[in-house]
Symmetry: C2
Subunit: 312 residues, 2 copies
């Protein structure tokens, strides 16, 4: 039997890396032949998590079709966020918590999406449904994913199910949710030692919204000014990305994880859509988005709706 | 709170009608405000089932956006198989067992697809996951759906999970699986009293396959000759449908439920794709497809793959 590869999205975050590792653990215990892989470099937050729980990262790949016929996607489904050769393999399963778009199969598949804050919250359910117990290490990876995706249970994407799963998993993992969580988020929020290019690609996702090609990058900080003091360099790098990829809009969301607000820098011929979507005015290409911390819940849907009726 | 409508696909079959009724029962017991509806007329098989278990059919609607903001799809996901105004409502949930195509949301949702033979097999799991017991009537609707979709557990789409669910539900419903199942299938397989137009629309689904617009209709019979003796009329009606809808291909699959084979009648500018897909020759526009009984597993994937590399 061919091995099935399991992976999260490009520019992987903690949920994409950990959910691949965790689902591979569950599938292996259920007798399947699978291997977790990753489509990009580990970020500092994810390295902190893997170090803390002594887990090896998934193997880095730049394509999947050379070594697998079937794959399992975690934490994403949209083609442009997946492996570059995703069209050449069969997607056998998807475990995800995002909208569904740019996704199509010719065969029936196992697709499990739930409107919760984190893929790991769904995976925790799957262990229970299959009657498989969760190890300390896997609990650690799952609770870390939940902390990452929900900004320590504070994001509007966080549901009661995420809170319950986080508490349950923290106990198994032997961590204090608040102190571990803050240390973990801070490990990923150190933006001073990162290049402008790193800031823009660490957690960037591309979306087709109506007629517009949009990229939304996000970075967590303990102080947005650490990024904004380099705004001229940031804008130059964004403009290079827009030109290289033919984007209509690039939105860079700089999130303050202590105050739970964001500053957005928007460039591209459709930048005005950000003003319409949030009722703000872009001043030097930027605007404060009060209370916005979630790309999935507070950025993608409003921009999708705005761009559906927008003429750039 | 607004009521959420639950419905299956157009030209509803037994699974689409019964799964809407059954999921509405489960959601209601879980405290949700929902109503099952249907997008088309009941077929004779489904009427047999509802009569047998004394269950009222769902209300017939020709659109959903006038009375609901949110909907739940069962037994389908593709836009062209759904309510005509599906773009104007939010799809909150999908419970399905088909491929995913022509489906997109702007918001995260609950999507539960499994590669099993019948939606009802998944619904039976959901009752268990939520700790809700299944009534005799709902068990009857679910086992009937499984019998219908798997041709009494004989279709290649039938999985071990469908067999186990059918046995378990037959016991709760108080029926003998074989004798009830055959009576039920025969009730739906009486083609002699149906018009040619009825035969072609009873269970017809439209698909976008690459550049081609394809409609695949299926009818169950105890003897395909009951249909084939009216082939000239059938072809005239198919041609009218092709012209009216601008189809590239219409495949009419006449399935022999006793011998588990089918005869296909194929018309349209892409009809030759059927010859390539099955290695057969169309003689008077028709060919025997040995062992083919499942549109989902034995027709849609092979035609999709063939048409991907086909020039009509």
């Amino acid at each position: 039997m061919d091995k099935v590869l399991i992976f999260g999205h490009r520019n992987p975050d903690t949920d994409s890396i950990c959910s691949a590792l965790v689902y591979a653990d569950l599938k292996t215990k259920l007798g399947a032949s699978v291997e977790p892989v990753r489509l990009g470099e580990l970020n500092a937050e994810t390295r902190f998590v893997l170090d803390h729980f002594g887990v090896q990262p998934p193997r880095l790949v730049d394509g999947v079709s050379a070594e697998a016929k079937q794959v399992i996607l975690v934490d994403h489904n949209e083609r442009q966020q997946s492996a570059p050769d995703i069209e050449q393999v069969q997607v056998a399963e998807v475990i995800d918590h995002h909208r569904i778009a740019n996704f199509e199969t010719s065969q029936p598949l196992y697709y499990r999406a739930e409107p919760v804050g984190c893929t790991a919250t769904i995976l925790n359910k799957l262990y229970k449904e299959h009657g498989v117990s969760v190890s300390k290490e896997m609990a650690g990876l799952m609770v870390s994913s939940i902390i990452s995706d929900t900004l320590l249970l504070k994001s509007p994407t966080c549901t009661e199910q995420d809170v319950a799963a986080a508490r349950e998993l923290a106990a198994i993992a032997g961590i204090d949710l608040d102190s571990y969580g803050l240390a973990m988020l801070k490990a990923g929020a150190n933006v001073r030692d990162k290049s402008v290019e790193e800031l823009l690609t660490l957690d960037a996702k591309e979306f087709q919204m109506g007629a517009y090609k949009v990229e939304i990058a996000q970075v967590n900080t303990v102080d947005p000014n650490d990024v904004l003091e380099r705004q001229a360099d940031v804008e130059a790098a964004i403009q290079r990305t827009i030109d290289a990829k033919g984007l209509d809009l690039f939105v860079f969301v700089i999130t303050d994880i202590l105050n739970n607000d964001s500053v957005a820098i928007a460039l591209g011929r459709a930048a005005k859509a950000v003003e319409i979507a949030y009722g703000v005015t872009l001043d030097r290409n930027r605007a404060v988005l009060k209370g916005v911390v979630s790309r999935k819940k507070q950025v993608v849907p409003v921009l999708t709706d705005t761009l559906a009726n927008y003429t750039a």
